[in-house]
Symmetry: D3
Subunit: 62 residues, 6 copies
């Protein structure tokens, strides 16, 4: 622990995930005082049709 689930619009590149994972792990390790090895992060990619904000799908926003 900690375990981090990041739900995100798909389209993020592997480079973006790599950099987010590395830097978020550093923040959690430093602030939470846990070993980096203990920080687990999952990216759950979602298409635009599968996210709604204010009752409107992202795929319907212009």
């Amino acid at each position: 622990m900690p375990y981090v689930n990041i739900y995100c619009l798909d389209g993020r590149t592997e480079d973006q995930k790599r950099e987010m994972a590395s830097r978020i792990t550093d923040v959690i390790s430093e602030v939470g005082k846990v070993q980096k090895e203990a920080v687990h992060i999952l990216f759950i990619d979602l298409p635009r049709t599968n996210i709604s904000k204010g009752g409107i799908l992202v795929s319907d926003k212009k």
Copy 2:
């Protein structure tokens, strides 16, 4: 907030997601007394091989 994650058998159409998102947002906004804009909904689609009920995969049910 609130944040709503809906895990569902894939195959729902965009129209079904659009209507669910709109109407669920209305319910939460009205009952929870929050602005519609604050209601976030994610649909996580899953294939029939990835859901089990009573120890049996949906893909194995006739």
Copy 3:
């Protein structure tokens, strides 16, 4: 299925949860064409210190 997880600021009353559960189940059953009995909803209550929007905890918003 479907399975619905609702992450929400704590403080919602049992009456609010009862009405949300009932009405969200109706929407999913009607739009998704599934039996009401198949709709499962979980409410995960969170304190104001445990939700951040735009990098700011809800407990820090005036």
Copy 4:
């Protein structure tokens, strides 16, 4: 209830999911003293680029 979400590297076969679902349901039913029918399991498959341990993506590990 209980509801079980299993986040896993994709590549598990349907046979592996079938056996995991069956046996995990048995364990939860027996230990938790609930009917097997009440145990729901979801498998959320993730590609190697979407899992990080210790700040390093699984896809970057040799």
Copy 5:
């Protein structure tokens, strides 16, 4: 990985969680061919007012 989230009615004892964790880990390790050390399990306890099945809160069922 794998990462397992178990949402459950609160009231399970520490002994029940200990036995479920141990045995579910064994199943996943054996079937999924992963080291036991790689299997992570979280129990998220929920009160009876926070679980709905078929549109009815568990706390409302006789």
Copy 6:
């Protein structure tokens, strides 16, 4: 979006959550090229009896 769920051993202070939320939001905003306002983070605190690694509860580790 993105939506971030952080499952963590309870005991983190509000200060730690504040700093994690702020800095993780900055990372996601910068790397993911999204507005900070769009980044939502939830902390789900768990007691030591509710986390297992390698089949052993954290509460059982010396």
